[in-house]
């Protein structure tokens, strides 16, 4: 008891004599006691986390639950299963065209992303560094293009896709997704290119390098983090896209995972919840894995896009 009092008495002195190096970035929050932090910080944070993650837990649990436990809440506690089964996942992978859909999604996302990044690198470099006549206006127009949502475009675009003879082919999606991706990644890459010192390019210009050589040999290697960010974000957007895929593709074998799950896996009134949840879970996995490796890039892409 006396020790505690002595400690308390000694504290103001310590604070006063503390060197500036002991300055904590949290301000005075270290004075808050643990019970106080429990109520004001950990409890609300915990509740929000549980709400954010519960649907995924439920998805994963449903996909390994045997059928009888899925629909009988009186005997079995629905929050857990004691005898998980891989029946639903097996059925999904071997009795449906799920692998084909997964492959389609992967192929379309990869092609559309590659095409968009190629186009955006050139466009962003031209806007930031070449500063041709009207570059600023083009930059503004690209920003505006980002604000045009697919929900407004899909009707005329479906007639355009039909006119171009692309209807019900993967090219319909590979060529239309870049309209969502290019504005975003151009914007992101413009920010990255601006941070690369112009002196490097001047030196190369004096040495007689062409603009193309400068772009490939100097700018791109320095912009790798930006390229990764743009890649991840584009890939995620492709995987997520729904309305174009729903409108432009009609054959089951060309569908992407999100569309196929909604249209082909749900048959009539019999919802196969186990397989549906397995499909949703497996469809999310590639993105979650990709994201796990590149979290920092992803977050910087998101915030970078907003700050620019």
């Amino acid at each position: 008891m006396t020790d505690v009092l002595a400690e308390k008495a000694a504290r103001p002195q310590r604070v006063l004599t503390a060197s500036p190096a002991a300055d904590h970035s949290e301000g005075m929050s270290y004075l808050n006691s643990l019970p106080r932090r429990l109520v004001t910080l950990y409890l609300p944070l915990g509740i929000i986390m549980v709400v954010l993650l519960f649907p995924f837990y439920w998805m994963a649990l449903t996909s390994v639950k045997p059928d009888e436990q899925l629909l009988d809440f009186d005997i079995y506690n629905p929050f857990w299963t004691w005898n998980p089964t891989f029946k639903h996942i097996h059925k999904l992978l071997f009795d449906t065209q799920y692998p084909v859909w997964l492959w389609n999604t992967m192929l379309i996302a990869t092609c559309a992303t590659a095409l968009s990044i190629f186009a955006s690198v050139l466009a962003a470099y031209a806007i930031v560094r070449l500063r041709y006549r009207g570059a600023q206006w083009v930059g503004g127009a690209i920003f505006l293009a980002y604000l045009v949502p697919p929900s407004i475009l899909f009707i005329p675009l479906s007639t355009v896709v039909f006119q171009y003879g692309l209807f019900d082919t993967p090219f319909a999606l590979i060529l239309t997704y870049p309209t969502i991706l290019i504005p975003f990644s151009t914007w992101l890459l413009m920010g990255y290119f601006k941070t690369i010192p112009f002196e490097l390019e001047e030196c190369a210009l004096i040495d007689g390098a062409s603009r193309w050589q400068i772009l490939v040999k100097i700018v791109l290697p320095l912009a790798v983090p930006g390229l990764i960010s743009a890649f991840i974000f584009c890939f995620t957007l492709c995987w997520n896209e729904f309305i174009y895929a729903l409108t432009f593709i009609s054959s089951t074998q060309y569908k992407t995972v999100p569309v196929a799950i909604v249209t082909a896996l749900v048959d009539g009134d019999v919802y196969r919840w186990g397989s549906l949840m397995a499909g949703a879970m497996i469809g999310s996995l590639p993105l979650v894995i990709l994201y796990a490796f590149f979290v920092e890039h992803y977050v910087s892409a998101m915030t970078g896009a907003v700050k620019e």
Binding site: E26, L45, V51, I155, P156, T176, I243, V257, S284, V299
Partner: protein, 319 residues
């Protein structure tokens, strides 16, 4: 400089016209054109042209497989008396307003919590973003199952706690369906708002808070007079995006309710899909999509300029 010198020399000797290859190598404007070509071509062919075509279609009576005749404002006059369309406008406004406000409030709160001193901070931040990473349709299917009329886990839990006696019909009742879809939208949107605001919070210098604390500012005053003003530019951008994507949302509604029950959750986007693609009336569907543009512009203006103006008032620099 070099361009001007080169041009004047070429002007003096008109015989040696530069070949197009020379132009391509030296002239910035030509180079710019070549560099812009891939992006420009895609955006013009698949964005600008369809956008114009969409507005044109809205003035025609086009159907699937048949080019339309120009009918003037007939589609819009039709829509003005269409109760389903008016209901979808109401739904869209309700959905956007409620979801955006709550997303902002919860997102800001979560950002402030994550900005505190915490163990496993990096992991927590990564985990928070997962609802935003996972494709919307796939999480919407999970919500569909959570909201199931008979086997909803929420109904079961509430019954176990003795709070209700019969299952809640989440997606079968008009207002329940509206709140359920709004909740799913908030669930998906909060991570984006929270993480971007958190990035903004981290640029605020801690010394400002220390100075304010020494001056005796309460936590609320610190938030109101330091955090909020410094965060307004980023709030403007985040809320513009958030409103834009909520207003034009299609996926969540289409997967969970398809606009039902009795059109109670139809947004303008889902209604235009139903009329144009399923019903085949391209012109009418295009008119509904085109009718979204003024609302969209208004929403963007409010969140962008409304918040940016504060920045000017406080004498911040306009970067």
């Amino acid at each position: 400089m070099t361009d001007v010198a080169l041009k004047s020399r070429l002007d003096k000797r008109p015989i040696q016209e530069p070949t197009s290859w020379d132009r391509l190598k030296t002239n910035k404007n030509w180079l710019g054109l070549w560099f812009m070509l891939p992006a420009g071509a895609i955006l013009i062919l698949f964005l600008a042209y369809p956008l114009g075509l969409g507005v044109w279609l809205s003035f025609t009576d086009a159907k699937i497989g048949r080019a339309g005749e120009f009918v003037g404002l007939e589609n819009y006059e039709w829509l003005r008396e269409d109760s389903t369309f008016l209901l979808s406008v109401f739904n869209t406004l309700l959905y956007t307003t409620v979801a955006s406000i709550i997303k902002f409030a919860v997102g800001l709160y979560l950002a402030l919590l994550l900005n505190e001193r915490l163990p496993f901070k990096a992991i927590l931040r990564a985990v928070v973003l997962i609802p935003f990473i996972v494709p919307t349709v796939l999480s919407a299917i999970a919500f569909w199952w959570i909201y199931d009329a008979q086997f909803s886990i929420i109904s079961w839990s509430l019954k176990q706690m003795g709070l209700i006696t019969t299952n809640i019909d989440f997606l079968g009742d008009v207002w329940n369906a509206r709140w359920s879809t709004i909740f799913a939208n908030i669930w998906r949107g909060v991570p984006f708002v929270a993480i971007t605001l958190l990035a903004g919070l981290q640029t605020v210098s801690p010394s400002l808070y220390e100075a304010a604390t020494i001056d005796g500012a309460t936590p609320w005053q610190r938030f109101r007079f330091i955090t909020y003003p410094l965060l307004t530019p980023i709030i403007a951008v985040v809320m513009t995006f958030s409103v834009l994507f909520t207003f034009t949302d299609f996926q969540l509604i289409w997967v969970m309710t398809r606009g039902g029950p009795v059109n109670a959750t139809h947004l303008m986007a889902t209604l235009s899909y139903q009329r144009a693609i399923i019903g085949g009336s391209l012109g009418e569907g295009a008119a509904i999509s085109t009718a979204m543009i003024p609302f969209l512009l208004a929403a963007i203006m409010v969140s962008w300029f409304g918040l940016q103006r504060r920045k000017w008032q406080q004498g911040g620099d306009n970067d």
